[in-house]
Symmetry: C2
Subunit: 300 residues, 2 copies
């Protein structure tokens, strides 16, 4: 059975009863597995992690949109995280037995269905984007809900599906397909924030580092140390072990040691297996030598 992950972000993180009602509406859809749900009060935002096949996820996302736009009115919404819609962003991620092309098709099908059923403007992003100007979520989201009417009036921001005007209370939805994202942090045995910031600059794409790394240096004040906080946006092409080794080397240049690293949330098995392969110098290793993977393949 093919496995697709879907990680919708909704603009509600302060009313647990509302969030649990929305999650319950998704979980009631046959074939949907809710892997995780977490809310951030200062962001006023929740992230739900779902898995299933294409048909189940499409039905699950429709249930999510219906429940969310019934409960969330962006006109009174405040929070630290930028947002364009009540249902802000819906990425589909290939995990096993599906291609990125399958997820792009699913994103476009779901985007069209959302626009039709709920009269919402829909933008397609990342791998599902229809133009390069719409690949980056940040570019689509710039101006936020409050600037959406003006943005949609510009010819270059005609939505991919649905009306060229915001939904009065729910704004717009961004739907797309992308590689799995790993939230990966490396803690340094120092309180020198400048060192964390310099290392973040060395490793991240925007300032000349690895293509699929976003990074910033932040203090962990309660522990008296600093952290290189990262998102690895394609761990197949920019793998964890390479990022870890570069951060360790850069830290050594300042006489600083790596204390530990941490993964926040979920990580695909393949990212860890790739790290084991590299460090153990495993040659000729095939993924189906992993017992659990062989088992899944044989079960079909």
């Amino acid at each position: 059975m093919p496995i697709i992950e879907c990680v919708p972000n909704i603009s509600e993180g302060r009313r647990p009863d509302v969030v649990s009602g929305i999650v319950a509406a998704i979980a009631a859809v046959p074939g949907i597995i809710v892997l995780d749900s977490s809310s951030d009060s200062s962001h006023n935002r929740s992230v739900v992690t779902l898995a299933g096949d294409a048909a189940a996820l499409q039905a699950g996302v429709m249930a999510l949109v219906e429940a969310t736009i019934a409960a969330v009115d962006l006109r009174g919404h405040r929070g630290e995280h930028p947002r364009l819609g009540a249902v802000d962003v819906i990425p589909f991620i290939p995990i096993e037995g599906v291609s990125m092309a399958d997820c792009v098709k699913l994103a476009r099908d779901v985007g069209a269905a959302i626009a039709t059923q709920f009269s919402l403007p829909v933008f397609l992003y990342e791998e599902a984007a229809t133009t390069s100007a719409r690949r980056n979520l940040e570019d689509i989201r710039r101006g936020e809900f409050e600037g959406l009417a003006a943005k949609l009036a510009l010819p270059e921001w005609t939505p991919d599906f649905g009306p060229a005007a915001p939904h009065a209370t729910a704004g717009a939805v961004v739907v797309g397909a992308r590689a799995p994202l790993i939230a990966y942090n490396i803690n340094l045995a120092t309180d020198r924030l400048d060192v964390a910031k310099k290392i973040a600059a060395a490793v991240r794409h925007s300032s000349g580092g690895f293509r699929y790394v976003k990074a910033m240096g932040i203090p962990l004040a309660d522990r008296g140390i600093v952290q290189v906080s990262m998102n690895l946006t394609n761990a197949e092409k920019t793998p964890m072990f390479r990022v870890f080794e570069l951060v360790k080397r850069e830290a050594a240049r300042y006489g600083v040691a790596v204390l530990e690293s941490e993964i926040v949330g979920l990580v695909p098995s393949a990212a860890l297996v790739a790290s084991a392969e590299w460090y153990l110098q495993l040659e000729g290793f095939a993924p189906d030598q992993v017992l659990e993977q062989r088992l899944r393949a044989k079960r079909g």
Copy 2:
């Protein structure tokens, strides 16, 4: 669903039609998944890898024994590998959602059933052993099929189940429970066999090394290099990364580099994840952060 692995070794590796007939008899049992089957002609021996729950594996093993003793007559059997029976050894291995105690119980249930149904002497070994003298397979197997009648006549070698005399054509069966075994080899960038042998001696339990490592140094003549060939008999307690790092350090002492390592056959996901955790210095990592594991747990 709990997953138990079972890796029966049978004394037939030269007649592919006989082996495939035996494998087909196992595969016909509902709930059994045949993960792998490989035959070695010089050993005249085949290894079948099965997975399932306890009930399915018990039925599958009974089918295996019936088909094997019907086809294999040890009186004419020659091969390099020591063996006591037509069905030589049947280990049960806990993989997921089962304990070692569950596998010990299964081994004893299956051992009793084999003795009753096929009038075969059965020894229990490793975790399922009834005395410490029977923990090691090598001790039970010493004397082989040809010495079995004399061995069974000794009071200390009364079988755990079944008659105290060999089955005329099928000898005896050894049934047990053990941790997953990883066949792990490290290739050195040298043709110096003495170096491989010295490293093997340093790393293996029998000569003072790690408790759960068996190792020998062998030449890979066709490649002009040498190999430290190992079995890791409990990779939870003696993990791959620690073995790799020790071999690398010992090799450096002789001015030799590690060329690569290799895993032969299957490896439990946990062994690779543990290596990634160690090298990446991951703190606070929980197995259910692995997406596929979370998915299996949520599916129930």
